[in-house]
């Protein structure tokens, strides 16, 4: 794979408004709802936490002007699970489903919302690969760079589904990466020089409250990209074998 330049990264999780705060360990109890400035307030009010997390992370990694045209890959193992559980409740109550909740339950709901808000008519996809979602979304992004060049935005997010499907370690989390293939796109944080399949060593070490969130391995990639050094970054949630990213310093560009 041709190395991809990591041009920006974003992160949001309750308590941490961005990647810099996460890395510095600056927890702020007031960070409970993502501002999602890329969504107009009216749209933001009607969208799920997952979509607002995705919008917040997207806006952190990608300049507003580029958000209008950048191809985007949304990766989430479970998608709009809070909305789904709300709809399951409606099915049990009287069987009438809220139309807004229904169309907001599709896996590409966040992508659809953000494309409307940013008037972005280019490529958008929404993908999943269970515990390997982060690596699989990055793989699709690098395939897009190979296919069309330019920049690609990758947004990863997962949330707690709510009872009775909740599990420990699944706090909400979103992260994003803006990838590009040319020095003309501006300075890079690091190079994503490879994606490869590993065995049990592909399992990412995660804090307990994110240990079962399939998007959370992106945390380690964001940290490594901001450190800007050569690094091997496991991206899989479990030890069943999954993707590993190789990062190189930005100056290592060919």
């Amino acid at each position: 794979m041709k190395p991809a330049r990591v041009l920006g990264t974003g992160l949001w999780t309750p308590g941490f408004a961005n990647a810099a705060d996460w890395i510095a360990g600056r927890r702020d109890a007031a960070v409970v709802d993502p501002p999602a400035a890329v969504l107009p307030p009216r749209l933001a009010r009607r969208t799920s936490l997952l979509a607002r997390m995705a919008a917040e992370a997207a806006g952190q990694a990608c300049p507003a002007a580029l958000l209008h045209s950048v191809p985007t890959v949304y990766g989430s193992a479970y998608g709009e699970s809070e909305t789904l559980v709300a709809l399951l409740g409606m099915l049990q109550r009287d069987g009438e489903l809220s139309p807004t909740r229904f169309h907001g339950s599709v896996h590409n709901a966040a992508g659809g919302c953000i494309s409307i808000a940013a008037d972005n008519r280019s490529f958008s996809t929404a993908v999943a690969a269970g515990p390997d979602t982060v690596g699989a979304a990055l793989l699709e992004a690098t395939a897009l760079l190979h296919e069309r060049g330019g920049c690609v935005l990758v947004v990863l997010c997962d949330e707690a589904p709510g009872a009775p499907f909740d599990r420990a370690g699944l706090s909400p989390f979103a992260a994003s990466f803006l990838l590009g293939d040319s020095a003309a796109d501006g300075p890079a944080l690091a190079l994503l020089s490879g994606l490869r399949r590993g065995g049990p060593e592909a399992r990412a070490e995660l804090p307990p409250h994110l240990s079962t969130n399939p998007a959370a391995p992106a945390l380690r990639l964001a940290e490594a990209a901001l450190a800007g050094k050569a690094a091997t970054v496991p991206l899989c949630l479990d030890d069943g074998g999954g993707w590993i990213a190789d990062l190189a310093p930005a100056g290592a560009a060919a």
Binding site: L91, G95, S105, I116, A128
Partner: protein
């Protein structure tokens, strides 16, 4: 933007839906103009028509894979069994780790999740065998397929609602071109469930009677279930090539298409551009054609403005219903079969057609030597895909 790589080949395919228990039955019903639409088998408090797969066509998964046993995976098993031989040949030719699995679904195991939640509502407990990851989640299908078929290449689920089953073919082409794999088992599968039937009803998008895409008095769509698999390989002999794909967004509305079909038109244009084709080379369009007033008008505007009014445009949803995440893959099979067999199906239910659409919509099966077919899928979130399939001779000219 014309792509230089030789386009990958569809070397095998299988389809299962309301038209039949296997591909042969499905294509025979399509050829003979027999609809699979029937009164909805799910208990819903309104009149609804659906395209359901016959229950007795499906069998439980083998004991070793019982954790993945859902209606979705039972349908997938049936499809896998049908292409077992070509898939085995591809695995031996390229190596198990060079065959990727890229599948589309929107419902995944939602049918079983609905049942599990109903049980929880009554008893306060989920059924003992309910498993969020192996039954409910999107990756249930790819994990099942990977295990059943013994494949170890890269895996992805594409879930962009009703465009999922078309976008998997774009990803397949992209991954082979990037060198990530040499073959892709692609496709899409979705099941009927309460959520989709009631959800589309809530959007006033359902017709109580069999749907009639492109008809003057069309009144909505019907939900269907089933799926299709297409084995796409870097090289090989097969009836058609994946020449190009275009993927766009409307950036207009979550459920309503852009009224002039700008996103759909851009997807078709991009597909042709990537394939190095001119609009005049398109012999046939398998349209998304859901049968709602808005979809058919917007898609017709897109087709008319790009391809003119002469190309035969067919919606097969009057046969199968709208297979949602499986629609694109199912209609890809119909597109490849049109190239392979030299006929295009009737656009069932279109009579009398909506003259204001300005399309040529065949109401009976037509013999047609198709060399280039476009297959459109348009989704919630304004997500569009158009895949260009071509006969092997088209590839030879381009090379």
């Amino acid at each position: 933007m014309v792509e230089s790589m030789n386009p990958p080949v569809v070397t095998a395919y299988a389809a299962l839906n309301a038209l039949g228990r296997d591909t042969r039955e499905v294509l025979a019903s399509l050829a003979e103009g027999r609809s699979g639409l029937r009164p909805c088998p799910l208990p819903v408090p309104f009149e609804a028509t659906c395209g359901a797969v016959a229950d007795d066509a499906l069998e439980p998964l083998p004991a070793s894979l019982a954790a993945y046993d859902t209606r979705l995976n039972r349908m997938t098993l049936r499809l896998l069994d049908e292409i077992e031989r070509p898939l085995d040949r591809a695995r031996r030719r390229w190596g198990a780790d060079r065959v990727a699995v890229v599948l589309g679904t929107s419902t995944a195991g939602l049918r079983e999740t609905e049942d599990a939640y109903a049980r929880f509502s009554k008893s306060g407990q989920l059924p003992a065998d309910f498993d969020w990851d192996r039954r409910h989640a999107l990756h249930s299908i790819t994990e099942f397929v990977r295990r059943r078929a013994g494949l170890s290449g890269p895996v992805l689920v594409v879930s962009t609602a009703c465009s999922s089953g078309g976008k998997v073919l774009a990803t397949a082409k992209r991954w082979i071109s990037a060198g990530f794999c040499d073959a892709v088992l692609s496709g899409g599968v979705d099941t009927l469930c309460q959520m989709t039937v009631r959800g589309f009803r809530g959007l006033s998008a359902l017709s109580p009677r069999p749907c009639r895409p492109f008809a003057a008095d069309r009144e909505g769509t019907n939900i269907g279930e089933g799926g299709a698999l297409l084995l796409v390989e870097r090289e090989g002999d097969g009836p058609a090539h994946v020449l190009g794909a275009g993927e766009t967004c409307d950036a207009h509305h979550m459920t309503a298409p852009h009224p002039e079909g700008l996103g759909a038109r851009a997807a078709m244009q991009e597909s042709l551009d990537r394939a190095g084709l001119h609009a005049s080379q398109v012999d046939h369009v398998n349209a998304h054609g859901t049968g709602t007033k808005l979809n058919d008008a917007a898609e017709a505007a897109a087709i008319r403005s790009l391809l003119g009014s002469g190309v035969p445009v067919v919606s097969t949803k009057g046969f199968t219903g709208h297979l949602l995440g499986a629609a694109g893959a199912t209609e890809a099979v119909f597109s490849v079969a049109a190239i392979e067999h030299g006929w295009i199906p009737a656009s069932l239910g279109a009579d009398p057609p909506d003259a204001s659409l300005g399309l040529r919509v065949p109401r009976t099966r037509e013999t047609l030597r198709c060399r280039v077919v476009l297959s459109n899928s348009l989704a919630f979130g304004g997500n569009n895909v158009s895949v260009a399939f071509g006969a092997p001779s088209v590839r030879a000219e381009a090379a």
